[in-house]
């Protein structure tokens, strides 16, 4: 077994333990209703976190996604309010736009050899500003197609609703897993995260990979914007502030190394669900302030970073042994 898989197993164990503990207190938490809600409520986060995972694997970071979600939501709402376009057409346009936006950031990062942190920070301000330009107020969406979307769910035994956006999130995770583990693009991401110079000498197309991964993250942010607008039936420029950080937290809790080169997309799903579970627990309890979510997530994050640090030291040692 590879040591880099350890954080993933740790995450899964923690998730199951957390679930077990919650279940002993509130047996209801295992109902399909709660599970359905967990997926629905975290769909937008899960989707954007998959994009973030790939970016982080490549050794980068994308701080723009929270703002891009809000921008997409507002743009959709405004377009549906002011034009007669069908929502599907609007979605396609928005996705194309956010994908291009991500690709541009990737191009800048590669061409100018600028830190991803700076470029995507600029992207964040740009997207947030553009969202304000479109509308400062929250714009409600009352298109009939939205009702169709929200009503499209599968009723699980036990009255839980497996919604369209929940399923979409799971599909995106599956897509992310295929991309990361079954394509050359995915291997290139790990390679770049492991060492750019070596990766280049091995024949990784650095420019192409960088542009693609930020474009993918942009696409996921746009998709997340679509999902969020379905979820809230509105577009609001002030929505999803800080979502990029929550997504990063989910990725790290999911066992992906923040410095890149190691991690699993599946872990990110577990990370998102762990965070969602903590929130659900606090709602169930009713007496705890919702700020406890942040505190617990903060502690978890800290624990994971320590775990990874320890594992890195360990694998560094095992690397040195063996040779005489």
């Amino acid at each position: 077994m590879n040591t880099r898989a350890l954080p993933l197993y740790a995450t899964i164990v923690i998730f199951l333990l957390a679930w077990l503990l919650s279940w002993m207190q509130f047996p209801n938490i295992l109902s399909t209703r709660v599970i359905g809600n967990l997926l629905t409520d975290n769909a937008y986060l899960g989707i954007v976190a998959v994009g973030m995972t790939l970016v982080i694997l490549s050794g980068g970071i994308d701080l723009s996604v929270g703002a891009v979600i809000a921008f997409s939501g507002v743009l959709i709402a405004v377009l549906l309010r002011d034009t007669n376009l069908h929502p599907l057409v609007v979605f396609a346009g928005v996705l194309a736009l956010t994908t291009a936006f991500g690709a541009c950031m990737g191009l800048l990062i590669h061409r100018l050899a600028m830190p991803a942190f700076i470029v995507t920070l600029a992207g964040m301000f740009l997207a947030r500003g553009a969202a304000y330009m479109l509308s400062i107020q929250s714009v409600p969406i009352d298109h009939p197609f939205y009702k169709t979307l929200r009503d499209a769910y599968y009723l699980m035994p036990g009255k839980g609703r497996l919604t369209l956006i929940g399923v979409l999130m799971l599909a995106v995770v599956a897509l992310g897993m295929v991309l990361a583990h079954r394509t050359r693009f995915g291997t290139s991401l790990y390679a770049l995260g492991g060492g750019e110079q070596t990766a280049r000498l091995m024949g990784v197309r650095q420019g192409q990979t960088t542009v693609l991964v930020y474009a993918f993250s942009g696409l996921m942010a746009g998709l997340s914007g679509v999902v969020f607008s379905v979820y809230t039936s509105s577009g609001y420029a002030l929505a999803t502030v800080g979502t990029e950080l929550t997504a990063i937290a989910a990725v790290v809790i999911g066992g992906t190394l923040l410095s890149g080169g190691a991690g699993y997309v599946f872990g990110t799903l577990v990370g998102v669900l762990t965070m969602g579970l903590i929130q659900t627990y606090i709602v169930f309890d009713g007496t705890l302030s919702s700020w406890w979510t942040k505190i617990v997530i903060g502690l978890l994050l800290l624990a994971f970073i320590l775990l990874q640090k320890g594992l890195l030291t360990l694998s560094g040692r095992s690397l040195r042994k063996g040779a005489a």
């Binding site: 590879n2 040591t3 880099r4 295929v178 583990h181 079954r182 394509t183 050359r184 291997t187 790990y190 390679a191 995260g193 492991g194 060492g195 110079q197 070596t198 990766a199 280049r200 000498l201 091995m202 024949g203 990784v204 197309r205 080169g261 190691a262 694998s315 040692r317 095992s318 690397l319 040195r320 042994k321 063996g322 040779a323 005489a324």
Partner: protein
Amino acid sequence: MLLSIRSLTKTFPGTRALDEVDLDIAAGEVHALLGENGAGKSTLIKCLTGAYRRDGGTITMEGAPIDPRSTLEARQLGIGTVYQEVNLLPNLTVAQNLMFGAEPRRMGLIDGRAMRREADRLLRQYGLEIDVGRDLGAYSVAIQQIVAIARAVAQSGKVLILDEPTASLDRREVEMVFDVVRGLRDRGLGIIFVSHFLDQVFELTDRVTILRNGRKIVTEATARLDRMSLIQHMLGRDLDHAAPVTRAPDADAAPALLRIEGLGRDGVIAPFDLTVGQGEVVGLAGLLGSGRTETAELLFGLRPAQTGTVRDANGAVDLRSPRAAIAAGFGFAPEDRKTDGIVGDLSIRENIILALQARRGWSRPIPRSEQNQLADEYIRRLDIRTSDREKAIGELSGGNQQKAVLARWLAMNPRFLILDEPTRGIDVGAHAQILRLIRTLTAQGMSVLVISSEIDELVAVSDRVIVLRDRRHVAQLTGQQVTGDQIMRAIAQEGAAA
């Protein structure tokens, strides 16, 4: 000609790395590319494979001009390469490393199982049976190097380039690699082979091209050169030999610095006794995996010993961690300096004072004048080829980087210094210089433990040689016994016993 290079030129700021170099590689030959550290060998290779853009010159392959702009393009042209400073990616699996760029697919997606099967098959040609699904980083440097070679070989349709591929391999593995290379030669590939091991050059290659300061000096059939003329062409002068060591007749002549008794650790190294004299050089000989590095790691606290003690004149020495070992005046220049050692963006000066500064603590910076003086001293003593001490270490040639890292540990001036393969990747000229430096240091009272796969080197520098086999100290040679023959015999008894 399979491959013709004409007037290849490459300039870095302040350095003309290649100056109108011509090189012809015929189909079915192994062509050695030789030269001192910094002569331009790796630069030539990188220009040839598109890793660097050349400033001038033409490259033709089978009559048609080629101009690879990336290593990927070079590979598509049938040029497979092992680069000097690269051990592939430790965070990918062995199979991913081997097959990157040529993954077997099913329905457009990478077929993981087929990929592992193919990787396994490739490695078996080198007698390597390992779990290819594990991360490359989990394996030893030697295995990583074989994987890198296997990868290059698998990619080379027409040309195979090996830039110091055998640096961390032992005799048997080198033999295996050579067999594969000869097989490829017989199939009509052109092979470029860079090495500082001249024996290997004579054993394997058909022709030799020698570079000096970025210029081509000569191309000649290997059989028509002897060792002396080869070295002369490389250095532009004769090799000044280190004075032979005058070995003390028996081990206990020097006053003891360290008395090691029963030091050992389960599964790592069997308990051993060793007394290291003041100003003595003890050599450790043995095959790869015989426990040489492990002995060093125990002594430096990298792996705590389970049994035994180490004493000096003042009593027991605490060696539970590298920190403790450094505090006790121990130093350790590890084998894998290629990846562990250098901080590429820092200057040569900063790299040299790194360990010294760390020991003093960062709150008490070493005065700049002292830093400069130390850096200049070691640049001179180790003959580090550089325009000045402020150059980023990543811009030095591979061998010169090695010297700089070695300088870091020498600058610590420990009382007991462990050197794991101190001359790996270092040219013949500097090689002698480093051995001489070791003798100078010991004359000043430092004791040194040298681990080396080169038996000649051990004979040249050691007062005493310990031979290891199967993680056990099996023989000790002193005085007149320290000869290449005797060491070989002690190492080889494995075969006789089995």
